[in-house]
């Protein structure tokens, strides 16, 4: 059996929003210790690695490991009905394979939705080594991305020992954002060697925008022309990490 309650529905809603950035149908691994999800978007450009331990929830009950696949955009529609400080309870009826979503607070309502056939595919962690690492505020990173998105649909990220630079070149306009080590936004910076890589902003901005609701601190790691790993710090032992494949630089 599987059942959980979370006092602030917003937490759950924001997390499902983050997952919906990459996938429509999400297969969750649920076990007595908590919930995990690893998934790639259909184009296999980005991957999400997420886990929440049971301690994040106000109540959590799972007696045996199981998989549960749900249509996250449908689930979001229901969760959006919850107002501030309302609680939400999830319960899976394994016989009917339906998920019950009860929102309680100003008034009580209970929705139910079907679960889908779970995928058996195991998504491996990309094997990459990282030459640079930058710790930023999620808010500051989000702002920087919004700046460069004004001029182009992709961005070059460069990191050396001094700073992190975002460069975007569009058909008509260009943009450069510099974040200096020790500034309000760039909290920590390590570089074994200067590295640069280009990423699609349609992925990057959706990921950062949605994740910023759940996290204050983001850690970026990558090497020249290799995938980037972005870790969004979560409460307790929660984990939210994205991997994003680079674009090929043409000049």
């Amino acid at each position: 059996m599987f059942k959980l309650r979370i006092a602030d529905a917003k937490l759950l809603r924001d997390m499902i929003t983050v997952i919906s950035t990459l996938v429509d149908e999400a297969t969750f691994n649920i076990n007595p210790e908590g919930i995990k999800l690893r998934a790639m978007d259909p184009s296999r450009v980005a991957m999400i690695d997420f886990s929440w331990p049971k301690t994040i929830f106000d109540e959590y009950l799972c007696d045996a490991p199981m998989k549960m696949c749900i249509n996250v955009s449908e689930m979001l529609k229901l969760l959006r009905r919850a107002a501030k400080e309302e609680s939400v309870e999830l319960a899976l009826d394994e016989k009917t394979a339906r998920l019950t979503i009860a929102i309680k607070g100003r008034y009580d309502r209970t929705f139910n939705m079907p679960t889908l056939e779970a995928t058996e595919e195991e998504v491996p962690t990309p094997k990459v080594t990282f030459n640079v690492r930058a710790k930023t505020t999620t808010h500051g990173l989000h702002q920087a991305i919004e700046d460069v998105q004004l001029v182009s649909d992709h961005v070059r990220v460069e990191i050396d020992n001094e700073k992190m630079t975002l460069r975007a070149t569009g058909d008509l306009m260009g943009a450069i954002v510099e974040l200096k080590k020790g500034s309000e936004t760039l909290l920590e910076l390590e570089a074994k060697e200067s590295s640069k890589a280009t990423f699609s902003l349609s992925y990057l901005s959706d990921i950062i925008k949605n994740a910023s609701a759940t996290s204050d601190i983001a850690t970026l790691e990558f090497s020249t022309d290799m995938p980037i790993k972005i870790d969004f710090q979560q409460p307790k032992e929660g984990k939210l990490t994205f991997y994003l494949a680079p674009r090929i630089e043409v000049e």
Binding site: D24, M40, D41, P42, S43, R44, V45, A46, M47, S73, P124, P126, D153, H154, S200, S202, P227, Y243, A245, P246, R247, I248, V250
Partner: protein, 587 residues
Amino acid sequence: MRYSLLADAYQKIEATTKRLEMTDHLVDLLKKTPPEIIDKVVYLTQGKLYPDFTGIEIGVAEKLAMRAVAKATGRSEKAIHEELGKTGDLGGTTQKFLKSKLQVQLSHELLTVEMVFDTLDKMAKSTGAGSMEQKISYLAGLLANASPKEAKYIVRTVTGALRLGIADMTVLDALAIAYGGGKEAREPLERAYNISSDLGRVAKTVVEKGLESVKKFQVSIGEPVRPMLAERLGSPEEILEKLGGKCVAEFKYDGERIQAHKKGNKVILFSRRLENITEQYPDAAELFRKYTKAKDAIIEAEVVAINSDTGEMKPFQELMHRRRKYGIQKAIEDYPVSLFIFDALYADEKDLTLKPYPIRHKALERIIQPSEHVRVAENLIVKNLEELERFFEKAVENGCEGLICKSINPDSVYQAGARGWLWIKYKRDYKSEMTDTIDLVVVGAFHGRGKRGGTYGALLLAAYNPEEDTFETVTKCGTGFTDKDLAKLPKMMKKHETLHKSSRVNSTLEADVWFEPKVVIEVIGAEITLSPIHTCAMDAIRKGSGLAIRFPRFTGNFRLDKAAEDATNTKEIARMYKGQLKKVIEQ
């Protein structure tokens, strides 16, 4: 099965224009295909996911596909649009951009036919809010994992541009060679296809169960039978000769051919092109449900628009108002229909397609409960030219296009999907279109029904023959009268009513009410035809035939200024008939 095998075969097929070579490539492909997905491969080679009659289409607009290509390649939509402008081929454009894609992936997956089919299936079935984004994401996912060549064909498939030129018959040939033991197997395969309209199912059956199972194929309720078609001959002599001196002649109604499948209370209607059109004709479906006595049946009928006041048939164009997606309820009221049943392909739990026509027709008469709006198509066994010509005139005068003459010999099976000489069309070569109004005398009337209860449904109209000083009937007119006209007609005519037909009126029709020839009204019609019923200009054009006005309409003018003897005379009508005779151009 790797999708690349399919793409390779497509490329080879595309490169040739010779049907034999095309067949060979298809044979190679089908032999490489695992039995469990042979149906999917057959549908895919035709750019489909399911047989046409299911109505499930992939249907992705080019614009949408372009967004997916942009997403999968990391190129801007603008760049794709520009390249597409040069070639007009989005498949080729996709292939080109995929060769130089800018977006790297975290991992790569080889496409299988199953993956491609399942993803396209999800796209076809995705509806409602957000379905556009979902379709783009599914397609981008396929393209991201596809080789450039695979991507080209995937894009062509989803945008409906996979034009390999593989005809149904080529697939059947290939199946015969690959799995039927040779070309001779084509015939049973073709019959199976013709009675199921489902190439995928035929393929799966021959691969998994062998040719013997294909030979046992039976019509199945829910799967449309490909319609039997008629050849055409211009002269009745040739028709009778071809059919062995006698045949059954049936009215060829000016309506839409429909195949009705009834299972218990459920009725599905298919068009001549095998589309499911049940939703456009809920009233027709209800008529089939109500007046087919058999629990399960497949019957063919012509749906014809009718004037609910007079019961007369309306031309085909009127019926086309019924082919719409919205406002169906109003269309049902504005354009009511009648059914004229002409064949039964399944009844009494038996496949009748291999039975001769007379047996099928007997079954039909047994299972149809005739009613006001459901009738067996008017038919007559004719044994000579005279009977055929007379019946033909009757058909035309009743608003039909002509006749279908059908063999009644022991070999007169239902040739599904074939145009053969068992059925022969006899249509008019000439018709005489009416351009001017004429003034006719009211000599009789028929009681109205329904909305017209208490007044007249139609008036019997006549032209004046000055030589004999008689009035010869030329048409029955029930159209063009306003409610006000209808309300005042009985009062107006009352004083002219007679107990019997006036001696000056020459009519073979029996009216409900007879009048003294006094009142003249103005009428326009669609055309003038030969008629075995009306007496106007009898023998003037052809021995034994008169003339009639087809689709007459009252213009609204009561010609109170004219005496009956001033009405248009029969010679004038004969002259109009000859003067306006034009060759009918086949559409």
